[in-house]
């Protein structure tokens, strides 16, 4: 079976919930100037980081924040929101033995969210640009996409410098959804992917000489 070399590779997967903060216009989802945040758990790591993480001993969480609505289109069914850059995403490692389990609670921000999702060791973080969120109210589903540029964290060194620009994609499921806690907007399932190595082209001396003939 031939192996397939993907151009981009899976860095990590996650689940969680999103909410608006600040939310000065509660009747108007993601109005201009409002903030978008998401938090939750990392559900798996790809080959780059898996050797340096331990999901049995530790809990891994994330927070996406500092995203402010810059433009908004809504036709009564379809919503498209673009955010001013940069937002920020951070991933944390917290010991199961001595740490604080992530707890969503209700009506975030609250006493446990985000605090219980942003404690422990910062393992990876970066700024997020070109973030766009789309949502279709006829199907109660949508998603977001954004460029992630990693620049901090204890595991940053395990990602080669030329592969620290990736992108994050999240699928959104809104109500009716009995899993979404009060005060949160959507359930999220998604992943972060990063560009794969660009293979060098194998050449022969003969081919090189031919360039100068």
């Amino acid at each position: 079976m031939p192996a397939f070399a993907q151009n981009d590779v899976f860095l990590l997967g996650f689940t969680g919930f999103d909410y608006e903060d600040p939310n000065p216009d509660p009747g108007n989802y993601l109005a201009l100037g409002e903030g978008y945040r998401a938090l939750g758990f990392v559900t798996s790591f790809g080959d780059l980081l898996a050797p340096y993480t331990d999901p049995v001993a530790n809990e891994y969480t994330f927070e996406l924040y500092d995203l402010v609505v810059q433009s908004r289109f809504f036709d009564g069914v379809a919503l498209e929101v673009a955010f001013s850059s940069p937002g920020r995403v951070r991933y944390y490692e917290d010991s199961r033995a001595g740490g604080t389990p992530g707890q969503y609670g209700v009506n975030p921000p609250n006493g446990t969210a985000p605090p219980s999702f942003v404690d422990g060791l910062l393992i990876l973080g970066g700024h997020v640009e070109n973030f766009v969120l789309t949502y279709d109210y006829s199907f109660n589903e949508g998603s977001f996409i954004g460029n992630a540029h990693f620049d901090e964290g204890s595991l940053l060194g395990w990602i080669p410098p030329l592969r620290r620009d990736g992108w994050t994609l999240g699928g959104l499921a809104g109500r009716p959804n009995n899993t979404v806690p009060q005060g949160y907007e959507h359930q999220i399932s998604g992943e972060c992917r990063i560009p794969g190595p660009t293979p060098a082209t194998h050449r022969t001396w003969g081919a090189l000489k031919a360039l100068y003939r």
């Binding site: 498209e80 389990p101 209700v106």
Partner: protein, 259 residues
């Protein structure tokens, strides 16, 4: 007084479901809400019998199949280890019949591609050895004897049916792509069926499509390069049915909180 406060605090913790087992903490649900039950991440892939990658279009009557490898189990399956070197947990969705794709303008200059599929079924297997293709070893299609076969070997631990499954791929006004899928499910069988019962909940996530010019590239932001024959890379999860009781705990776990 101190002891009353302690008991009250303990009962409060119990009532709010804060006492997840450590094994389940990676997917601790909010108190009183059903949580994620099964998650799949890097190794899930979709293909169908009549799909045009250049236009994200599924023809009416096209049959969709999704195969994948489970990346995380939550309650009530926390005793299953998706990384077990000797056992692989895989799944297959099939019998999904396309109603065709509609493409409509979206936002200020984008396009939204929506496809609905009916008749879906799913099965989850525990098989040995680990032999299903991953993202790194995914073959081009067709791959007789490999896809979907290696995702459908072993003991069927759970099966079920889906309501209408809807995928949405959106080329946003900025040129990047967003994508999602959503359906309701309920279980009908499998050796672990008695853990979940027949109540309904969600399967939902992202539906990263192969780029319009797959596999040559370049690859617009939000698309996933896959070998020839594949249509999308889903990432998502089954939520636990609402009837599945809250994550259980033990007195030992409770005591640990106060040490």
């Amino acid at each position: 007084m101190k002891s009353k406060i302690g008991v009250a605090a303990l009962l409060g913790l119990l009532a709010t479901g804060l006492l997840a087992t450590t094994a389940a903490a990676q997917c601790t649900p909010p108190p009183g809400y059903p949580g994620v039950m099964i998650k799949f991440d890097a190794d899930a892939f979709a293909y169908e019998t009549s799909y045009t990658t250049s236009t994200f279009t599924s023809a009416p009557g096209s049959m969709l199949t999704v195969v994948g490898i489970v990346s995380l189990f939550c309650f009530p399956f926390t005793d299953l280890n998706p990384l077990d070197p000797n056992t692989e947990y895989t799944f297959v969705w099939d019998n999904l019949t396309s109603g065709g794709t509609t493409a409509v303008p979206y936002g200020t200059s984008g396009t939204r591609y929506t496809t609905s599929y009916l008749g879906g079924q799913f099965r989850i297997y525990a098989g040995s050895p680990r032999n299903a293709p991953t993202a790194a070893t995914l073959p081009a299609l067709p791959a007789p004897g490999v896809v979907p076969d290696r995702y459908a070997d072993g003991t069927m631990i759970l099966s079920g049916v889906m309501d209408e499954l809807t995928t949405i791929v959106t080329r946003t006004s900025t040129g990047s792509y967003t994508s999602s899928f959503r359906t309701n499910y309920h279980c009908t069988g499998g050796t672990l069926f008695n853990r979940v019962g027949i109540d309904v909940n969600l399967i939902q996530g992202t539906w990263c499509p192969v780029p319009p010019n797959n596999p040559a590239g370049p690859y617009p932001l939000g698309t996933c390069q896959l070998p020839a024959g594949w249509g999308a890379h889903p990432n998502g999860k089954w939520d636990a049915p609402a009837s599945v009781p809250a994550v259980p705990s033990t007195w030992g776990t409770i005591k640990q909180l106060y040490r």
